[in-house]
């Protein structure tokens, strides 16, 4: 039995006619790192909200099919139970700051206070989590005085400190400059290496190719393609359907037509492209 089990999942937001997710069937194993790609309006964020329990518990609307994470069924659970298993981080780092705390240390402790962890344990866990994500030196700063990249790492740490079994990330770097992006991906990579189950929505495909185990391509609320990162990300179906694809892939595809790319597999990252063109 897979760790995440989506069966015939279809969902409509309230006050809308067309479903945002249609007949999704997806199994994800424990410890797997799955990336989700898709054009705007493909239902990526809705998929994240579903895994995190906010669809349908927060957004209401109409959900059919079944969603199971770690053996629990979404429709039979309440949101406050569900969030203990699933952590969620999303695009805007500023909006993820609780606002209830004056320092980063307190901010990270917020979730643990809410779920009633004893004081001494909170201190140990917050300290530990900050060291893991490399933000120990920010402990006494105000969360509002930080850069976007730092805020997003604080948001991630605030989730990780709660020790979720599944981490759901919805374009965590979309509002970040290259430095912020590298900082945030550094943390995500570490989580992946530690064997945490991660579902990541991301349009920066070069990063995905580096460390996803599997890629799911969504289009119009349905799964279009699913498989190994390099196979999915270089598939012609993607460019035909308006997905954002790596510039190295398109360059190599052009080169292939002119016989300049000899390998069968097209590249996604710069390194793969350099290597391929060398041979």
């Amino acid at each position: 039995m897979a760790f995440i089990n989506l069966t015939n999942l279809t969902y409509k937001y309230p006050l809308t006619e067309t479903p945002v997710l249609q007949n999704i069937n997806l199994q994800i194993n424990e410890g797997e790192f799955v990336a989700v790609v898709g054009p705007n309006g493909a239902g990526k964020s809705t998929l994240c909200y579903t895994l995190a329990g906010f669809v349908p518990h927060f957004f209401k609307g109409e959900l059919t099919g079944s969603v199971e994470v770690a053996g629990a069924s979404l429709l039979e659970s309440t949101l406050d139970e569900w969030v203990l298993n699933v952590g969620l981080a999303f695009q805007n780092p500023f909006n993820q700051i609780s606002g209830a705390k004056y320092s980063v240390f307190e901010e990270i402790a917020f979730g643990l206070e809410n779920i009633g962890i004893p004081r001494e344990e909170i201190k140990v866990r917050v300290e530990e989590a900050m060291v893991r994500t490399g933000i120990r030196e920010l402990a006494d700063r105000s969360p509002y005085s930080l850069s976007g990249g730092q805020q997003q790492r604080v948001a991630l740490t605030s989730i990780l400190v709660m020790k979720p079994k599944l981490l759901v990330l919805d374009e965590p770097t979309s509002q970040m400059d290259p430095i912020g992006t590298r900082e945030v991906f550094g943390v995500i990579r570490k989580m992946a290496e530690e064997g945490m189950t991660v579902v990541l929505v991301e349009h920066k495909v070069e990063w995905i190719a580096n460390f996803a185990d599997r890629v799911v391509a969504l289009k119009g609320g349905e799964i279009l393609l699913e498989g190994k990162p390099n196979e999915v990300l270089t598939s012609e179906l993607l460019s035909e359907n308006g997905f954002g694809i790596s510039r190295y892939t398109s360059a190599a595809r052009e080169a292939q037509k002119r016989g300049l790319w000899k390998k069968k597999q097209l590249p996604v990252t710069l390194d793969e492209a350099v290597e391929g063109f060398k041979s």
Binding site: V83, A100, E113, R119, S158
Partner: protein
């Protein structure tokens, strides 16, 4: 004002070390007798508040507050009430068509001393207690955690929104906003000033709600607190004494009437 936008002065003093609830009880032990007991008590109550400011080593910001915030208001009130309050027979002097009576002045004096005691004792609490410390303590005593969330969150959002307002006002001024022109023009300029502020901040509400709910905001478990706020037996004793003082002052009023 410090960056956290509160009156709090971060120094170490016996008053700072007191439990926040004890200081809150002190505030009410000043205010309730001032308003509920005999009027003559109000001026006397100003003395312990004043002394406490010295114990709390906040005498300078405290006096500063008195001069800038409280004195102008109550002086104005005192003059207005002395002149305009009706009744009274002992006319002290005439001010144009208005008679200033001894009774009106007496009444005005007691009203402003009450307000003085109320405002200055609250000011003292805020000078010596950080808002988050007060809220943690009250939460640990059973106040629902959401109240603490609202208070602290507002204290953090407000300066941000005021800064945004400043930016928008500056931008609108450079485009010809006139804060001095006719009434209709000034009223008309309200909408372009206010709407970016309001809609921008409302748009953040949904994501912030999701973010805090993802971190157990609605958890049914009993919340714990990172900070331990000390509550000594001295605090407990002091609170009892203050409560007895409140009751005694009200009893005094009933006994005298």
């Amino acid at each position: 004002m410090n960056p956290n936008r509160s009156f709090f002065v971060p120094v170490d003093s016996p008053l700072h070390r007191l439990n926040p609830l004890t200081k809150l009880t002190f505030v009410f032990a000043m205010i309730l007798p001032a308003f509920l007991s005999v009027p003559e008590l109000a001026p006397i109550l100003a003395i312990p508040v004043f002394l406490a400011a010295f114990i709390g080593r906040v005498q300078k910001p405290y006096l500063n507050l008195l001069l800038k915030l409280i004195l102008p208001t109550i002086t104005f009130m005192f003059v207005m009430q002395s002149v305009f309050l009706p009744g009274g027979e002992t006319i002290l002097f005439m001010l144009g068509p208005f008679d200033v009576t001894q009774e009106a002045m007496r009444s005005a004096f007691f009203t402003v001393t009450r307000i003085f005691v109320m405002v200055s004792s609250f000011a003292l609490l805020l000078l010596t207690t950080h808002p988050s410390e007060l809220m943690s303590d009250l939460t640990q005593r059973g106040l629902p955690g959401q109240f603490a969330y609202v208070i602290i969150s507002t204290l953090q959002i407000l300066p941000q929104m005021q800064a945004k307002a400043q930016t928008i006002i500056a931008a609108q001024r450079s485009r010809g906003l006139d804060t001095e022109s006719t009434f209709l023009k000034r009223a008309g300029s309200l909408v372009p000033l206010v709407s970016p502020l309001v809609f921008g901040s409302l748009a953040e509400v949904e994501e912030r709600a999701i973010a805090i709910e993802a971190r157990g905001f609605t958890s049914k478990k009993t919340k714990t607190s990172l900070h331990e706020i000390s509550d000594t037996s001295f605090d407990k004793g002091l609170r009892w004494i203050l409560v007895i003082l409140i009751l005694a002052s009200v009893a005094l009023r009933i006994w005298l009437s």
